[in-house]
C-alpha cells in the first residue's frame, strides 16, 4: 500500500518573508552612523562591532594624528565642487567622531607635505568605510542579509 505523503508547506523565500518594521531598522542605522560599529552591537554582533570600531576609529585617529584636514564644501569649478562636497560628505559619515572633532575646535590649514595629505585621506576614507558599515547594519536589520 502506498501512503500518500503529506504535501510540504511551500517554503518562504527571503523576498516573501515579512519585512521588519521601519522603526526596527532606524535605530541600528542611526547608531552605526553615530558610533562606528554601534549598529552591529545593537544587532547583537559584538565582535564585528569591536573590529569595526577599532578599524574605523583607528583610521580616523591616525588621520588626525597626521594632522589631516577636514573638508569645507566650496563651489567653484567642477573639480573643486566634487572634491570638497565629496570630502565633506566623507567627513560627515564619521558621525560623532567628526562632530566631536569639530566641536572641540580642530582646525588644520592646507599644509604642504605628503603626511598631512595622507591624514586628510585617512579621515575621509574612515567615513566611507563607516558608510559601508551603515549599509551593512541596514541590510542586517531589514533582513536582506542572513545572520551568521
Amino acid at each position: 500500500m502506498v501512503m500518500a505523503s503529506k504535501p510540504k508547506p511551500p517554503e518562504r523565500s527571503r523576498a516573501e518573508a515579512p519585512r521588519p518594521k521601519l522603526s526596527a531598522q532606524i535605530p541600528p542605522v542611526l547608531l552605526a552612523w553615530l558610533v562606528p560599529g554601534a549598529g552591529h552591537y545593537y544587532l547583537k554582533r559584538p565582535w564585528h562591532a569591536a573590529a569595526l570600531l577599532l578599524s574605523i576609529a583607528g583610521m580616523f585617529l591616525a588621520g588626525l594624528a597626521m594632522q589631516g584636514r577636514m573638508f569645507t564644501p566650496m563651489t567653484g569649478d567642477l573639480f573643486t565642487t566634487i572634491m570638497t562636497y565629496g570630502g565633506y560628505f566623507g567627513d560627515l559619515c564619521n558621525g560623532s567622531l567628526y562632530l566631536l572633532t569639530v566641536w572641540f575646535g580642530y582646525e588644520q590649514d592646507t599644509v604642504p607635505g605628503a603626511v598631512h595629505d595622507y591624514g586628510t585621506k585617512f579621515i575621509v576614507c574612515a567615513g566611507f568605510l563607516n558608510l559601508l558599515a551603515i549599509v551593512d547594519a541596514y541590510e542586517i536589520a531589514s533582513g536582506k542579509r542572513a545572520r551568521a
Binding site: 591616525a62 597626521m66 603626511v115 595622507y118 585617512f122 559601508l132
Partner: protein, 59 residues
C-alpha cells in the same frame, strides 16, 4: 605628530580597510576571513606594483 613613511601609511590603510571590507563583504566568518585576507593581499600587491612603476617612471 604621527609621521609614517609612504609604505607604513599604505600598509596601515590596507590593514584597516581590508578588515572593514572583510566584515561587511561576506556573510559567514570563514568567508569574511578569506575575503579580508584577499583584499589585503591585493592592496599589498597594488602598493608593490604601483611603487615600482613610480620608481621606474621617475628614473
Amino acid at each position: 605628530m604621527f609621521s609614517p613613511s609612504h609604505l607604513q601609511a599604505s600598509l596601515l590603510f590596507a590593514l584597516l580597510a581590508s578588515t572593514v571590507m572583510g566584515i561587511v563583504g561576506r556573510s559567514t566568518n570563514r568567508d569574511r576571513l578569506h575575503y579580508g585576507l584577499y583584499c589585503f593581499g591585493y592592496f599589498v600587491a597594488a602598493i608593490f606594483v604601483l611603487g615600482w612603476l613610480m620608481r621606474l617612471g621617475h628614473g
